[in-house]
Assembly symmetry: C2
Homo-oligomer: 177 residues x 2
């Protein structure tokens, strides 16, 4: 696990697009960043409280009576750039499929083939989903944002296509065992 929580980075980054409720922050993370990022409520709310105490976000009255939105302060706007500049921390790998395959002799070729086949199905489904999202994003106006969104989509597409190719190759290998 990373030394410093990345939650603050994600929350600040999302808030850089405009004032939002904690609930809305979570929705954006889930719906727009969900393919490569995730946060739970249990992380987001404490993070917002922390960031407010540090003066990086402030609350402004929302549309709903009594509701308030979180907005980046000037300090917050500086901080998020600082944070994004910090080196990318990677989580230690934990690939359950490859662990099972590495000990495939315990599981048997048949069961392994099922697992790989499942992975292939998931990858093709993801590929379709990504193509759908791509069309949607490409329909948006050509703001600088769009180009960056397309890069993250493309990363998913490359990974998914690689997964499918690997699965096909691996299924063939398992067949001839």
């Amino acid at each position: 696990m990373p030394r410093t929580t990345q939650t603050d980075v994600a929350v600040l980054a999302v808030l850089s697009t405009g004032p939002l409720s904690g609930y809305a922050v979570r929705e954006i993370i889930r719906d727009d960043l969900g393919l490569f990022w995730s946060e739970s409520f249990g992380q987001i709310y404490p993070s917002l409280a922390r960031l407010q105490k540090e003066g990086l976000v402030e609350t402004v009255p929302g549309e709903r009576r009594g509701s308030s939105l979180f907005r980046l302060t000037g300090a917050g706007r500086e901080r998020i750039v600082e944070l994004l500049r910090e080196p990318v921390t990677t989580v230690p790998p934990r690939n359950g499929l490859l662990l099972r395959l590495a000990f495939g002799n315990l599981l048997g070729a048949r069961a392994c083939a099922e697992l790989v086949s499942e992975a292939r199905t998931k990858a093709t489904a993801q590929l379709e989903e990504l193509e759908r999202i791509r069309r949607q994003v490409e329909a948006e106006p050509d703001e600088p944002q769009r180009a960056y969104a397309l890069m993250t989509i493309s990363a998913g597409e490359h990974a998914a296509r690689a997964a499918v190719a690997w699965a096909d190759e691996t299924l063939a290998a398992l067949e001839s065992l």
Copy 2:
């Protein structure tokens, strides 16, 4: 995070190849499974103690005076197959590079290109490393084990090649921004 610790699965699986010290278990996980799995000492030793209490592993005297090795019991041998049969749990995604790219307008095209370039370098290095390991494994006798090891290596190769292709495409896109 997964509901039940996957550490026990990995430890039992490694011990299925023969009796080992806790230290040796960690070495195998790091050196042989490191490309897709990781465990720290702080997980391995408590796991071994737990597994021993459950009667899934037992200790046998090792070669060194006073040292003892952990060995799977019959129950342990059954259990590991059960555990491997359980559905693969996936960790929620946390891709720091894609998070930065998604908010690339905050970071700027130049800094983004540096990050992507770094990722490309890492991927090519990994590709070379994997080819080295592949040659090494291919030199081993053709036991059933070998075929499974090659599948995990191939997964890494596909992923690394995809990463390189994506990086090239993305660098070009950033150039024309």
